[in-house]
């Protein structure tokens, strides 16, 4: 009996103390907590932004889960996050399926670059759009094919089979790449199309940027594509690509921003635009925006104000920390257009 009494007494004490512990936290004023999820490509800059923004505005905390663009769109459609993020604009069908009306806000720019491994060739190769599409369609199979050789006079290209490497995991980089190839070749557009994963006509799949670059590094006579940021951070050399104006351009932050500036004039009001093969003599053709997906109507006033405050901050002061992480900045024209669009959120 006494043991029983002791047990009951102890458990009562435990329950009471638990209640006491939980009380103060319930009384403290909560910061505005905002949940977001989506693209992995811009995750480094997003986490820096959300951190900096929280320091400037301690009352707002934004949690971001980098679960992938597809999952981000899915969670936004289901209404389980306050906003989403994606490397590709939502399709009309996806917008129709969402419970809420969604606005797109471009945040930064990314690009895909061509990397290759040709023993004995040390110059940076130039690729025409037709050559890249042909290689990835499997119609150009040897390195000394005239389609490659003509753009690279003076380079002795080997008479060797091209080993094509692509991403095996679904990714925004693959979307940019296949979107570009679709504009370069009507065959690609009709047979393969553009998506985060496609039915590749030829090639080996590597997981992630590191998987692709690893395969390319190890396999003689191979070609692949990786994110510009990954190439820059790992000091990889990569090829020049012909743009819409016919010029060969090497990808860097300036030429990627130039692609966005070239597309800014024809930017639709919902910002859902592909800027691959953008006009402009200095534009790098395999570039893309990445977007935040914001619901038009946000019921919770505190959340709405916080999100609008963040968008304002992101488009203006936030852009200052972009280039340190190797992302290209939004051009001024796009920034101005976005500042206007923020007022649509209500």
């Amino acid at each position: 009996m006494t043991r029983k009494a002791v047990t009951v007494g102890l458990s009562l004490v435990l329950v009471l103390s638990l209640m006491l512990i939980s009380l103060p936290s319930a009384q403290a004023t909560d910061p505005v907590l905002i949940n977001a999820a989506g693209a992995t490509f811009p995750y480094p800059i997003y986490s820096k932004w959300f951190d900096d923004f929280h320091k400037a505005n301690p009352g707002v905390q934004i949690n971001y889960a980098s679960v992938g663009s597809g999952a981000g769109i899915g969670q936004l459609q289901a209404g389980t996050v306050d906003f989403g993020a994606s490397d590709m604009p939502m399709t009309d069908e996806q917008l129709a399926q969402a419970k809420v009306k969604v606005l797109h806000f471009p945040t930064v720019l990314g690009a895909a670059v061509v990397t290759y491994n040709l023993p004995g060739v040390s110059t940076e190769l130039k690729f025409t759009q037709k050559a890249l599409a042909g290689i990835y369609l499997g119609t150009i199979t040897r390195w000394n094919d005239p389609a490659i050789a003509k753009a690279n006079p003076g380079v002795s290209l080997p008479n060797a089979d091209i080993v094509v490497v692509h991403r095996s995991d679904g990714s925004g980089t693959t979307f940019i790449w296949t979107d570009f190839l679709g504009k370069a070749s009507s065959d690609w557009a009709s047979k393969v199309g553009a998506k985060s994963s496609v039915n590749w006509p030829v090639g080996l799949g590597g997981k992630g940027n590191e998987g692709v670059s690893g395969l390319v590094k190890q396999t003689p006579n191979s070609i692949g594509y990786v994110e510009l940021i990954y190439a820059v951070q790992n000091k990889m050399s990569y090829g020049w690509v012909q743009n819409a104006a016919g010029k060969f351009i090497k990808a860097d932050l300036a030429s990627v921003s130039a692609a966005a500036a070239g597309a800014a004039k024809t930017m639709p009001d919902d910002f859902r635009v592909s800027i691959t093969n953008a006009p402009g003599a200095t534009a790098y053709p395999i570039s893309s925006f990445t977007w935040l997906l914001i619901p038009v109507q946000i019921q919770n006033a505190a959340k709405r104000d916080a999100i609008k405050l963040f968008l304002n901050w992101m488009v203006t002061s936030g852009q200052g920390s972009v280039e340190a992480l190797s992302y290209a900045q939004l051009p001024k024209a796009v920034q101005a257009k976005e500042l206007k669009a923020i007022s649509l959120v209500h």
Partner: protein, 327 residues
């Protein structure tokens, strides 16, 4: 009348309750209930898993039906999905892994259990258990940086020049592909085969060995003809544990198989497995049919594991009966 019933009603329940409490306090009843709950949770979890896979793949099941098993196209853009190349890749890589791992693992287990001095055996067994706990991504990196280059520059060409007349060893050799995936998987599952087989061999009663030796058998004959057959069921169990791991392995395989959903006789060719494609594409998949097709692949993998384990069970029971008839 009513007073009598209430009186009885009052008397009876306390005694029943007291009996129940007595059984409770003795501990048996509690242990029974708790373990029953845990046991039932296995059924519950499996049931929920299948239900979830079944419900979440409804679109793909209605769209493709049984054709899903016979189609070898995987086209997320045009919404055309088939599981055949993934099933093929999963079976081929797992089979290759077992082909390499079972003889090696069994040989090592026999040495450790029967021939090696006890302290060496224990020390090595500890290391092997450690190997079994290495995360699979580490084996994947080992595959990329060690196995793939060796495959491309040494083993591949050697196989081509010696066995190149077989269709399995023809075509371009990129270093990544079915064979490399099989080798990396073999490295991963060998610790399971060794560890479990060794334990089983050690449990074989001493009399069995002594009887065999007394009848004039050599040490090897006693091991191979008496001890190993005695432990047959347990050894087969280790093989099927290894198979289950090989079937479901994701990360390491993805890193070395080439991720190309094609069916080819050549073991040098790149392939794809069910687990790999789910891991690769699920997070970025958009569109209901696409997601449902990936979930349906998960269901296919579950079925595949279920069927192969079922076959394994029947096999073990059959051999155990045969062994019993012998003795």
């Amino acid at each position: 009348m009513s007073g009598a019933t209430t009186a009885i009603g009052r008397v009876l329940p306390p005694s029943r309750a007291r009996r129940f409490i007595r059984r409770l306090t003795s501990g048996d009843e509690i242990a029974h209930l708790i373990t029953l709950t845990f046991g039932a949770s296995i059924l519950l979890i499996t049931g929920l898993l299948v239900l979830e896979l079944w419900v979440q793949s409804s679109l793909a099941r209605h769209q493709f039906g049984w054709k899903f098993f016979a189609t070898s196209v995987w086209d997320p853009v045009f919404g055309n999905f088939g599981a055949l190349p993934f099933i093929y890749g999963t079976l081929v890589t797992s089979f290759l892994a077992l082909l390499i791992a079972v003889p090696l693992g069994l040989g090592a287990a026999i040495f450790l259990a029967e021939l090696a001095p006890r302290n060496i055996s224990d020390a090595l067994a500890f290391l092997i258990d450690l190997l079994a706990a290495v995360p699979s991504v580490i084996y994947g990196l080992l595959g990329i940086f060690v196995v793939v280059p060796i495959m491309r520059t040494t083993i591949g060409p050697a196989l081509k020049s010696s066995l190149g007349f077989l269709p399995f060893f023809q075509g371009p050799n990129y270093g990544v592909g079915f064979l490399t995936a099989g080798v990396v998987l073999a490295i991963m599952v060998i610790p399971f085969v060794i560890s479990v087989s060794r334990e089983v061999l050690l449990t074989v009663p001493r009399d069995q060995r002594e009887a065999a030796v007394a009848l004039g058998a050599t040490r090897w004959e006693a091991t191979w003809k008496v001890v190993v057959p005695f432990a047959r069921a347990g050894i087969l169990g280790s093989v099927f544990l290894a198979m289950a791991r090989a079937l479901g392995e994701t990360m390491a395989v993805t890193m070395v198989i080439g991720n190309d959903p094609k069916i080819s006789a050549s073991l040098f060719a790149p392939g794809y497995t069910i687990a790999s494609v789910i891991a690769n594409e699920f997070s970025e998949a958009t569109g209901d049919l696409y997601i449902h097709s990936l979930v349906l692949l998960g269901l296919v993998l579950f079925l595949l594991t279920f069927i192969l384990n079922g076959i394994a069970r029947i096999f073990i029971v059959a051999t155990a009966q045969r062994g019993g008839a012998h003795e």
